[in-house]
Symmetry: C2
Subunit: 385 residues, 2 copies
């Protein structure tokens, strides 16, 4: 039970042949109410897939009754035909679940850009009745049906005082903000209006998915959707709900990081002593996107020089010659010069912590990234995605 952990939701996941492996590739999450509030955050990439164009319009127009998600094809840069496929998908879902308005159906797609032909359309639209027939209040199959190159399902559940949050996520590459690349569906039976949901969702994503930068590549299909049924009848304190939602998003972001394509290290880059949170994020991101740094970590080399070379390219306020850099708790660089011997630092564990102390203020941020490995190159050169 994931998105069906809260009351008022049903879900389903089936295989319709979009994936050559025959694995599940079409998912549906339905909000049975009584309330149907929602909040959605989209990719900031200007190149946006047809389901994003559809869902963006849909999300502005009112409550969401359901969300349908396919893996096995991004339906991005597929022209008017692709947009029509998205519309037909939403109409089929609306009809199958007894909704009178297709625009109340959100749509997500993930897979190869440029994929979305007649066969793709028929497989999705033609199988919506079977998908709807599989809907169940105790379903756990939706989580698998949204995966692409992911190796594991990503789920999270939070039990509040009389209310619950459930979530599924997919993402294993093209993970960079703003909005880390992913599809996420979060459900709750808490009774909250759209404004409260929107505020909580934006706060939670800004500190979790927006600080996940696996490979610097932003997708065209990102969407994080929060659906609220109100079925618990409980209205939690907004700050308590926001904190719980942030915890769920943080858990999912950690799961996405841990499953990043080909990675052998999960690297948390903690920037401290920054003049502003924005500076801390900029400094952390400059390291997270530095291929030389990322390759060094793959080689278990605590190369603090590459950290300093990376942060020197930013415009953040600090003196490059007054910076401390630690790897896994060992301070290797102090005040812009060598400190402890690098052989005191063991980078063989998968979890890697890099601390950068700027001595320029009181702000901090942690950016999550991964190393640059042979396997990353292999997965992204041998297979189109």
């Amino acid at each position: 039970m994931t998105v069906t952990a809260p009351q008022g939701f049903r879900s389903a996941g089936i295989a319709v042949g979009l994936k050559s492996t025959g694995k599940p590739d079409l998912a549906l999450v339905v909000n049975d109410g009584p309330q149907r509030a929602s909040a959605v955050v989209f990719t900031t990439n200007r190149a946006q897939a047809n389901p994003i164009l559809w869902s963006r319009k849909s999300a502005q127009g009112g409550p969401a009754h359901a969300i349908v998600l396919n893996s096995g094809g991004a339906n991005c840069f597929t022209g008017d035909f692709g947009y029509e496929t998205t519309r037909l998908t939403a109409e089929a879902v609306a009809s199958a679940i007894g909704s009178d308005d297709a625009e109340r159906i959100l749509v997500c797609s993930t897979g190869l850009i440029g994929t979305g032909d007649q066969v793709f359309r028929e497989k999705i639209v033609g199988n919506v009745p079977a998908l709807a027939a599989a809907l169940a209040a105790d379903d756990t199959s939706a989580a698998a049906a949204i995966l692409t190159t992911d190796s594991v399902e990503k789920t999270a559940v939070h039990a509040g005082e009389g209310w619950t949050i459930g979530a599924i996520a997919k993402g294993a590459g093209m993970l960079a903000p703003g909005l880390a690349t992913m599809l996420v569906v979060i459900t709750t039976d808490a009774l909250l209006d759209s404004d409260a949901l929107d505020s909580a969702l934006r706060g939670a994503t800004s500190l979790s998915f927006d600080r996940l930068d696996s490979d610097g590549c932003m997708s065209t299909n990102d969407q994080v959707t929060l659906l609220a049924s109100g079925a618990s009848g409980v209205t939690p304190d907004e700050a308590v709900f926001a904190a719980a939602l942030a915890e769920v998003c943080d858990s999912l972001a950690g799961q996405l990081q841990a499953d990043a394509e080909g990675s052998s290290h999960d690297i948390d880059i903690e920037v401290r002593g920054a003049a502003s949170a924005a500076d801390a994020v900029e400094v952390g991101r400059s390291v997270a996107r530095n291929n030389l740094f990322k390759a060094a970590i793959f080689g278990n080399d605590p190369n603090w020089g590459r950290v300093l070379a990376a942060i020197g390219t930013t415009e953040a306020a600090f003196d490059p010659y007054s910076v401390d850099v630690s790897f896994n708790g060992v301070r290797l660089c102090h005040a812009g010069a060598p400190d402890r011997p690098v052989d005191e630092c063991d980078l063989t564990p998968r979890r890697t912590h890099v601390a950068i102390e700027l001595f320029a203020g009181e702000h901090s941020a942690t950016i999550r990234t991964n190393d640059l490995t042979h396997e990353y190159v292999h997965e992204n050169s041998a297979y189109s995605s």
Copy 2:
């Protein structure tokens, strides 16, 4: 004959033990005049090596009599001790060549950040007399002594009407602007003042090294130095000289691209129809820095979807749904939708041309980059640099 091709220059390159391989690692280029005009462009990285700090001050103070360059150690983030090493090196060179002002000696270093201890200092300073003794007007050994992971020497010569330009360069990674990471020494016997040299050098680097973005990583030690002896007695037309200098820099940039660490493709990303040159550069760079695109090229996969996803992250003026993308002359994407079949495109040759037509104006720019390969990951994870 490279930097000694123009009249009025001597150079030398010797091995002093900085490199564990025993290869040459210390070079000197002396301007014997009669004129000693110069122009220098430095890395824009705020984290700057001690020789950069020294040379920046030196270049502002007057003409340059000579430039001394070591490979085998960056002397970056080595504190006051490292700066003192640079000063002592300049003093030793001034003394050895009979210059009365150490500040007229430019210094460059390249190698591992954090390297620059007492042994490093003694090997350099103690061997300056031997280096000076090796100076010759027909020397060709300086080019090899500045290399690090480079596999070949990079040189260029241009013969003008009675005047000549000669050049040596090193760089095989950490190649990103502004200023692509490298050390370059360019000499000329043309009779031109510092203003003319500076203008020509900035123009030439902005179109060559500044548009080379091998791996998105900017170094702490970049320096491009132009020395003019005036020994030909000929003052060329400034536009003619600027064009010749641009050609020399373009040749060197191409050589740096071709020798980029672990690369298997030289990728020229030509952006056309941009609203401004800055937009064209931003769009080209967004593709050049996209790891998914770079890995796809390694796999000979003309993945136009990754090009569109990359350029969608920019703020350049264009409509993502009106863009054409061609690989090696085959238009695979037209007006934001699939065009020719991808199997019509052969990416097996090393030279790769990606054309992006934005239909937003009349400006264009070409960014040079390389693919992301297993060998790149290997070289940058297995060895510190």
